[in-house]
Symmetry: C2
Subunit: 215 residues, 2 copies
Amino acid sequence: MTMAVSNPHYTESLRKLMDAFGRLPGVGSRSAERIAFHLLKSSREEALELSDAIRAVKDQVRHCSICFNLTEGDPCSICADGSRDHGIICVVEQPKDLLQLESTGVYKGVYHVLLGRIAPLENLTPSELTIPQLLERVKPAAEGGGSAAPVKEIIFATNPTMEGDGTALYLQQEIAKIAPGVTITRLARGLPAGAQIEYSNKAILADAISGRTKA
Amino acid sequence: MTMAVSNPHYTESLRKLMDAFGRLPGVGSRSAERIAFHLLKSSREEALELSDAIRAVKDQVRHCSICFNLTEGDPCSICADGSRDHGIICVVEQPKDLLQLESTGVYKGVYHVLLGRIAPLENLTPSELTIPQLLERVKPAAEGGGSAAPVKEIIFATNPTMEGDGTALYLQQEIAKIAPGVTITRLARGLPAGAQIEYSNKAILADAISGRTKA
């Protein structure tokens, strides 16, 4: 029942469309074929809506010049929000992490998106990330620092992985050099809500024990 | 770990892109998000290639005016091919069926794509399909029929399902009325190559027995 996508009797533009879809993550050649035929059958409006949406994202979405969150205007809506506390910066790896934290509605400070984590094996060094720009924001105004408000606290919200922790450790040392008065914190680590101790692994339990709080 | 795709901090154009991808067959909201972020990161060229491919398919792909196969030129490359036998028409339900038959390289006649099968429950009547156009092709030239060569044979290659068989039966009656001299055949039915009798179902075995040939 398999049919090569490169069958010579597909029309040229159908074949190009299937190839383009087949290169997307999680879309195999069978799905690409199914999607291409779906678009062929669907209304012109529906198909062009997708085509235009792709173009619009490439034309309009950019990184905020302050925090590097994804945005269409600059600065982003969070950096432009005067009701938030610009003295607290939460450092995340990716825009998706920021969105996930925002969805809790708990945090009222601002952010800094690193656009990755330090990973020497992948040639991701501090200068590949937005670390220089973060240090610039943290630097006291008297020394030419660039934050709208004096920075009181930096919250590390990198992933609790070896590379995320390594990135946080590096940042902690760099920030201590240029702004020793700034409080540095990180997200609490321990048992995830709803977990069962019986099934929790050693790393989680070790964090939970060493980070225990008064009941 | 779930995050609503309608999170208010996605930019407007990212949200539109995710919505448009989420409407495609087999693409859930999670995949749509993954694809949208992939396109955001990928090069402008790669993203616009997909955007343009969608537009090109809607602009350029149409149905052949003779056989209703998908094509960019008219007539399609098969109908325009003088080396094929235009006196034999193979009737299929969909362009994909045609492609699958072509991939065998065995058939040298031409095609007629019905663009569906008769399905009264879905309001698919003969006039919704390309049946009137097929009858026009089959009609003898003396009576104003429209085929390039006199039609000698019609091969039914509708699916071996209740609706496919029903469509073929209907066509057989209609063709007999207007062109009684035309030979009508259908694809052989029986054991699929590689099958095991032990695991074949009753319908397959019944076809295989009643259609048995001399060894």
